[in-house]
């Protein structure tokens, strides 16, 4: 298993019942959790870079899945945070008004290949049969991470 897949199986931050009313609110909440990771060197900078990137171009990869991401000087290695938003979800843009799953990725600026690996691993994960619906239906954190691990390994 490559490094981004390992990170996905054991994310740096996990929020299962996130309640948010806006894209910025959802990103900020997950970011606050992710900022606790020792790999995050500069939490405000990470948040700024994530929001800036989200404003520049869409970050959704499915109708109810968003992938806010940034290559930033704020992290020492690739960091991954995952959140599940309580129904009815949060609007990210006009085409994605009810996002339920958020995967947040921060990558050091020099690591282009790692960034692409991480983003590709997440998109692959969500294509795995039953993973997306399973993540939305998981009742506990253990069940949620087990699904992530299974999907990342497949």
């Amino acid at each position: 298993m490559d490094l981004p897949s390992q990170l996905l199986a054991q994310p740096d931050a996990l929020l299962l019942d996130l309640t948010a009313t806006s894209r910025e609110g959802a990103i900020s909440a997950l970011h606050a959790q992710l900022a606790k990771s020792p790999a995050v060197k500069d939490a405000p900078l990470l948040l700024r870079d994530l929001l800036e990137r989200a404003m520049l171009a869409p970050v959704c990869i499915a109708v109810d899945v968003a992938l806010p991401h940034a290559r930033t000087d704020a992290v020492a290695r690739v960091v991954v945070g995952v959140a599940r938003v309580t129904p009815p979800g949060v609007g990210f843009d006009g085409e994605h008004p009810a996002v339920r799953l958020i995967f947040m990725v921060g990558t050091p600026k020099q690591q282009v290949e790692e960034y692409l690996l991480a983003v590709a691993a997440i998109t692959r994960l969500l294509k795995t049969e039953g993973v997306r619906t399973g993540l939305l239906a998981a009742r506990t954190a253990a069940e949620f991470t087990a699904l992530l691990a299974r999907g990342a390994a497949s």
Partner: protein
């Protein structure tokens, strides 16, 4: 959107991705480097150069046939003309050449008289088309009417013009254009003498002053293609068929050493006489047409009794090498040919003196060999062998290109037995000539031109001199699919990312994105800003060429972005091949020391 429509869109996207992946794979596997592309252009320059040479040669023969009413060679035709015909034909030819130059100058008023050597050595590689065509048309008359001048000069010039046009059409940079013109010249010489190696070395040694592979490779390709074209389209064979010469004893090298010294002393004398003759004709203050007609008339006067002086001397050289001329007759022809060449060249008849130089060397060598044979009959030396070596030695001394002279003589005769005395004699002649007079057949005019037009002398010293404008760029918000498509439309491995203000942000590498071309989800998610490399090396416009070379060290990139250090704006790009060519050019000896 209905499920059916979504499925169709996805299918289309998948097909597009597959297509992109295949096209990128094919392009990557078959992608040519800049050097390989240069070789392809060199090959094309070789082909067009050979065609230009053939057309000129055919036209010169047509003019000759028209003026003498004979399909024989120049010497044969003149031999069969009555005395008044011998006077009339070269005189009319000279006058016609003068008229072409006179009226042609109206068409070329805005163009310089830059020839191919000047365009390569001190110019920007742009050989003026109209001026070259006018001069070549005039040369058709001076050559076709039997002037004592070579046809190779105009053939090489036209070949270089064709190459220059190709390069200008493709908007080549200065160093690339000069290299392509050099390829054209190489093709012209290879076509004229059926000698591809000599063609390459002539340009490398005399014009570029370097046999670095960066330039020699394209020159060789061009010369080979030109020679192949000539061989396929005509019945071109070995230029001079010679008997087998053998070195019977090492002692025979002694006379060859003396021949080297003689040729080395005579060649500068020959060149000086041509120069003085030019000054004499100018001092007459005759109108151009009258001056060229007078030059033709003088050749005609000599040709009444010695028709061998007409033309470039090729057929006479063949006779000399095969021992078909008695030395007393040859002595007369030698003196008369010298005078005739002075008349043609001095009057300003357009053409070359390369083949007449070979004639002088062959005659001098044969006469010297005859003397050796008379003084040392037991040696069994063949005067024909001395003629062959004399040709090379004279050429080496006149052109100051001993390597080219050895190769050319070998290629033109395919006589390997003569190689030892030829090499020794050429080197001795070269050093002797260098000691006697400082300038070669070509360096004098180049030096004069460089002095007259110092601004024309081009030498890239800074990155901005070599910079190519408008490199392929993408905006930071360009989507993954757009980036992939851009890579397909331009032949680069790195796309520069530039913001709205024109600032350079970094580069997106084809190598980075290649593994993910199959992932449809990334097509909409990833943008250029996500994958650009901010630390991509860049260079400033005012940096020196050696600093630029340092920036390329350890990089696989073929180009570097040129970025203004104060504003961060992307100004252009610097190609590694341009840089290496410019560095090769910088190593070229200065004209003062040529």
């Amino acid at each position: 959107m209905s499920p059916t429509a979504t499925a169709t869109t996805t299918e289309l996207l998948e097909r597009l991705q597959r297509l992109l992946r295949w096209r990128l794979w094919i392009r990557e596997k078959l992608q040519l480097t800049e050097w390989q592309i240069t070789l392809l252009w060199a090959a094309l320059a070789g082909f067009t150069g050979a065609l230009a040479s053939m057309i000129f040669s055919a036209l010169a023969e047509g003019v000759h046939e028209f003026m003498t009413n004979s399909t024989s060679g120049v010497v044969e035709s003149m031999r069969h003309l009555p005395w008044w015909g011998c006077l009339l034909v070269p005189t009319l030819g000279g006058a016609a050449a003068g008229l072409v130059l006179l009226y042609g100058s109206r068409l070329t008023r805005s163009q310089s008289s830059t020839d191919y050597m000047e365009a390569i050595v001190i110019g920007n590689g742009r050989v003026p088309v109209r001026a070259s065509l006018v001069k070549s048309t005039a040369a058709l008359f001076s050559i076709g009417s039997g002037g004592s001048i070579g046809r190779e000069g105009p053939m090489v010039q036209l070949s270089a013009v064709a190459a220059s046009l190709l390069g200008r059409w493709r908007q080549f940079t200065g160093p690339q254009l000069r290299l392509l013109v050099a390829c054209g010249a190489s093709a012209g010489i290879a076509s004229a003498y059926n000698a591809p190696i000599a063609g390459s070395f002539f340009v490398a040694e005399i014009i570029l002053g370097s046999i670095a592979m960066e330039s020699l490779g394209p020159l060789a390709v061009s010369a080979v293609v030109a020679t192949l074209t000539i061989r396929v389209l005509t019945a071109a064979q070995v230029m001079y068929r010679v008997p087998v010469f053998q070195l019977n004893s090492p002692w025979e090298m002694g006379p060859y050493v003396i021949l080297g010294l003689l040729a080395g002393g005579m060649a500068p004398l020959f060149l000086r006489s041509l120069k003085q003759s030019e000054e004499f004709f100018i001092a007459l203050r005759l109108p151009l047409v009258a001056r060229l007609a007078l030059g033709g008339l003088l050749v005609g006067v000599i040709a009444i009794n010695v028709p061998q002086v007409c033309g470039n001397g090729y057929t006479v050289v063949v006779d000399i090498l095969n021992g078909r001329l008695v030395w007393t007759v040859l002595l007369g022809i030698f003196a008369c040919k010298w005078l005739a060449t002075m008349s043609s060249f001095g009057s300003g008849a357009p053409g070359g003196v390369f083949t007449p130089t070979l004639f002088m060397g062959a005659s001098a060598g044969y006469l010297f060999g005859t003397g050796v044979h008379a003084l040392w009959p037991a040696s069994g030396v063949d005067p024909g062998a001395f003629a062959l070596v004399g040709m090379g030695a004279f050429l080496s001394a006149a052109s100051r290109a001993p390597v080219m002279a050895v190769i050319m003589l070998f290629e033109m005769t395919l006589s390997y037995d003569i190689i030892l005395p030829l090499m020794l004699c050429n080197v001795i002649a070269y050093y002797t000539a260098k000691g006697v007079a400082g300038e070669s057949l070509y360096s004098a005019s180049l030096r004069r031109k460089a002095a007259a037009e110092p601004a024309a002398a081009f030498a890239a010293t800074r990155v901005s001199d070599l910079m190519r404008l408008d490199p392929p760029t993408i905006p930071p918000a360009a989507r993954f699919a757009e980036i992939a498509e851009r890579f397909l439309s331009v032949r680069v491995n790195n796309l520069y990312v530039r913001d709205d203000e024109g600032r350079f942000l970094g580069a997106v590498s084809l190598h980075d994105i290649k593994p993910y071309l199959g992932q449809l989800d990334l097509a909409e998610l990833v943008i250029a800003r996500d994958i650009l490399r901010e630390d991509f090396p860049k260079i400033g416009p005012d940096q020196s060429l050696s600093e630029a070379l340092g920036a390329f060290l350890g990089l696989t990139a073929e180009r570097l972005p040129v970025v203004a250090p104060d504003t961060g704006r992307l100004l252009g790009s610097l190609s590694k091949s341009d840089l290496l060519l410019a560095l090769v050019e910088k190593r070229r000896p200065t004209l003062a020391g040529a």
